[in-house]
């Protein structure tokens, strides 16, 4: 107001002043009555607004900053204030929103929800989810929460609202749900793969495992636990716990294997464990690979299988192969050795007639003959081992046999050892050679005696054993029924190492001169040749049980028993000796000559045929079986049988029995085993000639 202005006031001027005065009074009045809550103060730096509630400034800043929409509504839903974010949500300019009804932006379907939200309770806050329609007419899902603002007595009602845009979180929860579903599907696929893997592994007898090197834990499948013999405690194994299952001497190899796996990325070993459940020693094969390398601590996964049976079978196979090879070798040596004995023995037979009668010469001569006999015995043992002895196959009751030579056994065992014969459940029959069986049992009894220098008990028992195909494979025999005879002693027993070698010829642990190492070799060859097998059960310090198994038979028909004649039979007639070994041939020729025969000789089959063809009149052809050249002994006698049916035929061989099986000789041609003595030769020649004469008398019968 300008006070320097002094002329009298015009009416208009007066009215103006009056109006201004009224305004000033009203302003003061309004301030006095608290109708305003902010004043504008002019200053050098311009206008400034002071609100009477300046303290709310920080809150206003927060409201403006926050990511939620904030809105102040009148009771009828008019927007009195909103922050920038609220305007953003709706996509409108903030200015255009003030004074508008918020209902205008609520999706029609959500108006009842919104009405509910606006209507109720002054006391507490409440909220609802609804959709607001934005400037692009797109529904925006929001959470709308409101609270009544108490403005004091009879002031109009105000509501404060916070609006949260749910688009992102809805989207995120959709994404999350999708991700969850994807994950669930993946887990399902993996679990199925794992399941089928475990089934497949299980079918292969393999356990699966996974080693976490950082944690030192091994997770194994059910089969894994079974292989290690853990029952009833599921869950991972500690590395140390698992290592302790390995035999102490194998543990360093296990550790070395895992150490190396870190470097080379894979692991494989075959070592022994002691199974937790029953303490059994088992061979296991472990194979694995590093499959996740996290720094230095990787993970290893792999499989494990119990290979004990395979290893045992392999070992048995190796053993069988070794025995077979030794058998071949022994058989070859025995064959040559036989010929040597023939020469020595034959020469001695001839010398005997020209012997000076003095005592000294006779003694030397007897010693030499004894030497030949021992050599022949040794050779028979070797031939037995190489399964080339001539075996008789009869239905034998083992128990009867044992009883029949009980006296001999008791004498062999001596006084400090008790012989116990266990009464069997039944009198089973098996197919074998009864004499060889007795020899074998005697051999075993003598071994038992040697194992019990301070006395003890030998018990002999028989029983029936059923061998299934799996066991048959492992013992190298056919499946089926067997009669088993066990010779058990209470002696010093054998280590597994010794037990694995006892059947080898010349293996002995006995002092020089005491053992030959041929006893069990002979038993072995004999039992194998009888289509049976032997088992050893021996514990050092406790004793040994040797069990011989022979095929069970129901056929009680006894094969013919034949005893060799011990007398020299002289004869007449012409004999053709066919033999490739000159010394052996020489012996035969001289022996036969001494016996009274006219003798012709041939070194091989073809020249024998030539001799026969020359028409010299041969009564008997005495031929070796194995000879060099196109024609062997077997074929020779077959040809002669056809061309000269009246001719007597006799074969001889160092190999006998099954070695000849592939070349069947004519049923009535006898085979004289080498080495033969003059006596056995004379008997065989005589029998062959007699048979030929019988056939001549009665051509219908093939002869006996």
């Amino acid at each position: 107001m300008d006070r320097s202005f002094s002329p009298p006031l015009s009416q208009a001027h007066f009215d103006d002043l009056l109006e201004r005065l009224r305004e000033a009074e009203e302003t003061l009045d309004a301030i006095r009555h608290g109708e305003v809550d902010a004043v504008v103060v002019g200053g050098s730096s311009g206008q400034k607004v002071y609100t009477l509630e300046n303290a709310d400034r920080p809150y206003r800043v927060i409201i403006e900053q926050m990511r939620e929409g904030a809105v102040t509504l009148s009771a009828d839903g008019t927007i009195l204030y909103c922050n920038e974010r609220f305007a953003d949500i709706l996509g409108h300019a903030r200015e255009s929103l003030i004074g508008r009804e918020v209902l205008h932006f609520v999706a029609p379907a959500d108006t009842p929800v919104f009405a509910e939200l606006m209507a109720h309770g002054p006391a507490s806050g409440r909220s609802a989810e609804l959709s607001l329609i934005n400037a692009d007419s797109v529904g925006v899902p929001v959470n709308f929460s409101v609270v009544d603002l108490d403005m004091g007595q009879d002031s109009a009602r105000l509501l404060c609202g916070v609006v949260t845009d749910l688009t992102r979180s809805r989207q995120r929860s959709h994404e999350l749900a999708a991700a969850n579903a994807r994950l669930a599907a993946e887990i399902d696929v993996r679990r199925r793969a794992e399941e089928s893997l475990e089934v497949a592994l299980d079918a292969a007898g393999m356990g699966g495992w996974d080693l976490d090197l950082a944690q030192g834990l091994i997770h194994g499948s059910k089969r894994f636990d079974e292989i290690f013999g853990r029952e009833g405690t599921p869950g991972p194994w500690l590395v140390g716990e698992l290592l302790a299952r390995f035999l102490p001497e194998d543990r360093p190899a296990v550790q070395a294997g895992f150490e190396a796996a870190r470097r080379v990325g894979s692991i494989e070993f075959e070592l022994r464990i002691e199974r937790l459940a029953d303490g059994a020693r088992r061979w296991i094969h472990v194979k694995g690979r590093v499959h996740r390398q996290q720094g230095r601590n990787g993970r290893l996964a792999g499989v494990v299988s119990d290979v004990t049976t395979r290893r045992m079978t392999e070992q048995q196979l190796r053993q069988a192969q070794k025995m077979e090879a030794i058998g071949q070798l022994t058989g070859g040596i025995a064959h040559d050795f036989n010929n040597l004995l023939m020469v020595i023995g034959g020469s001695m037979d001839m010398l005997e007639e020209h012997m000076p009668g003095d005592e000294r010469s006779r003694r030397y001569f007897a010693a030499a003959r004894q030497g030949v006999e021992r050599g022949a015995l040794l050779n028979r043992q070797l031939l037995a081992f190489s399964r080339r002895q001539d075996l008789r196959q009869e239905a034998v009751c083992i128990d009867d046999r044992v009883h029949s030579f009980q006296g001999l056994l008791e004498r062999a065992l001596g006084e400090t050892i008790t012989l116990q014969l266990v009464e069997p459940e039944a009198r089973w029959l098996c197919t074998t050679d009864p004499h060889q069986l007795e020899t074998a049992i005697l051999n075993l009894a003598i071994n038992a005696r040697d194992a019990m220098p301070n006395g003890g008990t030998v018990s002999i028992s028989t029983r029936r054993v059923v061998v299934d195909s799996e066991r048959a494979q492992s013992v190298g025999a056919a499946a089926g029924n067997y009669v088993a005879v066990s010779i058990a002693d209470t002696g010093e027993g054998m280590t597994p190492d010794v037990a694995s070698k006892v059947f080898e010829p010349f293996f002995t642990t006995k002092a020089v001169g005491k053992g030959t190492g041929l006893g069990l070799s002979q038993v072995y060859g004999f039992v194998r040749q009888s289509d049976g097998f032997i088992t050893i059960d021996s514990t050092p310090g406790q004793g040994t049980t040797m069990t011989l198994h022979f095929p069970l038979t129901d056929d009680p028909e006894q094969a013919r028993a034949k005893d060799d004649a011990a007398v020299t039979l002289r004869g007449t007639g012409s004999v053709l000796v066919v033999e490739d070994d000159a010394s052996v041939r020489d012996i035969a020729v001289r022996s036969l000559g001494d016996l009274g025969y006219t003798v012709f000789e041939a070194s091989h089959a073809q020249s024998a045929l030539d001799v026969v063809a020359s028409g010299v009149g041969i009564d008997l052809v005495f031929s070796d079986v194995i000879m060099p050249g196109d024609i062997g002994g077997m074929e020779l006698v077959q040809r002669l049988r056809r061309s000269h049916p009246a001719m007597a035929l006799l074969l001889t061989s160092g190999y006998t029995g099954q070695a000849m099986a592939d070349q069947p000789r004519p049923a009535d041609v006898q085979l004289l085993a080498k080495p033969y003595t003059r006596a056995t030769l004379s008997a065989a020649v005589d029998a062959a000639l007699e048979k030929a004469r019988a056939r001549l008398r009665d051509p219908g019968k093939p002869g006996v």
Binding site: V40, L149, A156
Partner: protein
């Protein structure tokens, strides 16, 4: 900041142009907006235009209409300029102040 809260369909036919000065969100400011909106709808339906000026945002605008206390309502049209101070909760006083109802009609 100046906010125009004129309803849709306003025709410039010599009706009321109102300008409300507020100080942000003070309760009186909020009440004033609310009251003014209601009052206009009731008495000036279709004949008003409202502009809200927040002096916290643009304090320099206070000088033009010589505002000293907030909220203050100014009638810019029709002339003469009229001014009502306070939260506008006394409707009669506002109607008189804005010359919508003559003072002597009271």
């Amino acid at each position: 900041m100046s906010v125009d809260i004129t309803p849709e369909g306003f025709a410039d036919d010599g009706s009321y142009n109102l300008r409300l000065y507020v100080a942000g969100q003070t309760p009186k400011s909020l009440l004033a907006i609310s009251n003014l909106k209601k009052l206009c709808e009731e008495h000036l339906a279709g004949r008003y235009r409202i502009e809200v000026v927040d002096l916290l945002v643009t304090p320099q605008l206070a000088a033009g209409d010589q505002i000293v206390a907030l909220p203050t309502l100014i009638r810019t049209l029709p002339p003469p300029l009229k001014r009502v101070i306070g939260d506008l909760s006394n409707t009669e006083k506002v109607l008189v102040g804005l010359d919508i109802r003559r003072r002597d009609n009271l």
